[in-house]
């Protein structure tokens, strides 16, 4: 049978740092010996329009590098729902920002509506919403060790952003911890 695949989409709008979250997660997963392929859709409207970073994670080689059906959907903007929903598995893990993504499709699926952007604003910058989301995703999915992502974050953050990024990651983990505990 084909190698195990786990597909994640970070969906939102241009400028939210989705590709960066994807790259950090991919590098962290690679350090744990996994293979990752990341793709994005190039639209003329990428500034201010729908933007995505799609990760295909596999233990062995990633055969087909494009997503087929998402196991996990991280939504940072309402815009991302429409182009993503039909390609999301029925029991996929959905993490959505309460403020930018208030209206989620009806249905019985494991959804975590979390104040990702509000937490980032409270930390000092909405720009780290992507890192808060990354923390929440890792707490809820367990696809990567916290030490691995922290190592990547330390290596790739500009010095002036490092503390903020680490705080944002921790806040993301903390935000999702009660939910994760309740679920287990």
């Amino acid at each position: 049978m084909a190698a195990t695949r786990f597909e994640v989409r970070f969906g939102g709008t241009g400028g939210q740092g989705l590709l960066l979250s994807g790259k950090m997660l991919a590098d962290a997963l690679a350090s744990e010996g996994k293979n990752v392929a990341q793709s994005q859709t190039y639209e003329p409207t990428s500034r201010g329009g729908f933007c995505n970073a799609d990760l295909v994670i596999a233990n062995g080689e990633v055969d087909y590098p494009l997503p087929i059906a998402f196991d996990c959907l991280v939504l940072l903007d309402q815009l991302a729902i429409k182009p993503s929903w039909s390609r999301t598995k029925p029991n996929a893990l959905v993490i959505a920002d309460t403020r930018n993504c208030p209206d989620l499709p009806a249905g019985d699926y494991p959804c975590h509506h979390l104040p990702l952007s509000r937490t980032a604003i409270e930390l000092g910058s909405e720009r780290v919403t992507n890192i808060v989301a990354l923390g929440a995703l890792l707490e809820l999915s367990g696809i990567c060790k916290r030490a691995s992502i922290e190592r990547v974050l330390r290596a790739s953050s500009p010095r002036s952003f490092l503390d903020l990024n680490l705080d944002a990651l921790a806040a993301g983990y903390a935000l999702a911890a009660p939910v994760a505990a309740a679920a287990s």
Binding site: K34, A37, Y64
Partner: protein, 386 residues
């Protein structure tokens, strides 16, 4: 996601896009000159090399158009530099004039063509595989061409290096052909710099008086006179004799043009490259390149899991086409399926080799890649029909 096979990927693996891997491969191959013109979806190659080349003692220049970028690459190579350009469909069309010059005057160089939807301006950010025939026959007149078609980030790196080696060894332009998805998607890879020595150009040596710039030995490759080395030879796009000067003498023209083709045939062992996956017992063999071959690889797994014996044949060197390996890989197959992002270009070549009865196409030119499920469904249907 519980089993971690640590042996498969080195700890230093990092997410890297295909275009970035191409730039890194070029520098590792010894490329020291790049001339280009901005075009989606190939610009990342130029944007990476603008930094890498000066650090390696090389030159980067953005030219005024696609034509001059190709001309500057040939000019730099005539001066002795390993040189490259990168473009996409509309630019590739414009470059044909000087690609033909490089083929005729036997100037080594590497041209990257990242395929996007066409015709004309088409779909700049969507993949296509409809330049398969243009890479082979894009410029006027008869000339041979080496075209390499990598299908992953890692392979773009290694095939870029091989492209430079083949260009220098065979004294010919080499085209690196891949699609927008392979170019702009990223994969986690730990790139290993090549351990073998790189191919270097055969430079003219010996007394100047006796030197004939297009006289050859048994390998069919003329030694090139390096400007400044005292040979003072003439290079032209006109048909020429062994002296390098224009000639329309039928016998001379025949001999020289015939040699252009035979020099590649003599190096087929180095040029040919392909991958055959589970073809031996396959009822249906899928022939594909680039992103379609990645979908086909998964489709083979899907088919096999449901009891359909499918296999994949993937030309890595697209031109000259690996004829004998394809015939061998499809010997036992009852049907051959060619999924491609075009109306049927790769299929034409496969049909030429295997006949029309056996070959089916799965063609899509909407700008959407063909999915593993599409290929698996078609292969399954073919297996039951056959």
């Amino acid at each position: 996601m519980n089993v971690v096979d640590k042996a498969r990927v080195k700890p230093a693996a990092k997410l890297l896009s295909g275009n970035n891997a191409c730039a890194l491969g070029a520098v590792a191959a010894g490329c020291r000159f790049f001339a280009g013109y901005p075009i989606t979806p190939s610009s990342e190659i130029a944007e990476r090399l603008v930094t890498l080349l000066p650090q390696a003692g090389g030159v980067f220049i953005q030219m005024e158009d696609e034509i001059s970028a190709m001309a500057a690459v040939v000019g730099a190579s005539m001066g002795g530099a390993k040189a490259m350009t990168a473009t996409s469909g509309p630019g590739f069309s414009l470059k044909q004039e000087n690609i033909g010059y490089a083929a005729g005057a036997e100037i080594p160089c590497v041209i990257v063509n990242v395929m996007r939807g066409g015709p004309s301006t088409g779909m700049p950010t969507r993949p296509s595989q409809a330049d398969v025939m243009q890479t082979r026959f894009g410029s006027h007149g008869d000339y041979p061409m080496i075209v390499l078609a990598p299908a992953s980030v890692r392979e773009i790196y290694s095939e870029t290096i091989r492209a430079f080696d083949l260009a220098e060894t065979c004294r010919t332009p080499v085209i690196l052909l891949y699609d927008q998805v392979i170019a702009q998607s990223s994969e986690t890879v730990a790139l290993e710099p090549p351990t073998t020595p790189r191919a270097e150009r055969k430079w003219a040596t010996g007394p100047r008086e006796e030197f004939k710039p297009f006289a050859v030995g048994p390998d069919g490759i003329p030694a090139m006179a390096k400007p400044g080395a005292g040979y003072r030879v003439h290079t032209t796009g006109l048909t020429h004799s062994e002296t390098g000067f224009p000639s329309q003498d039928p016998e001379t023209v025949n001999r020289n043009l015939g040699r252009l083709f035979s020099k590649l045939e003599r190096h087929r062992e180095q040029i040919d490259s392909w991958e055959a996956v589970q073809c031996d017992d396959a009822d249906v063999v899928i022939v594909a390149i680039g992103i379609s071959s990645r979908a086909a690889r998964r489709a083979v797994e899907i088919c096999r899991a449901s009891g359909v014996r499918a296999g994949l044949f993937r030309p890595i060197t697209l031109w000259p086409f690996p004829e004998a390996p394809l015939c061998a890989a499809t010997k036992n197959a009852r049907a051959v399926l060619v999924p491609e992002l075009s109306i049927g270009q790769l299929r034409l070549e496969v049909e030429r080799l295997l006949g029309r009865d056996k070959v089916e196409g799965l063609h899509q030119f909407s700008g959407e890649p063909i999915t593993p499920a599409q290929i698996a469904a078609r292969a399954t249907a073919l297996a039951s029909e056959a």
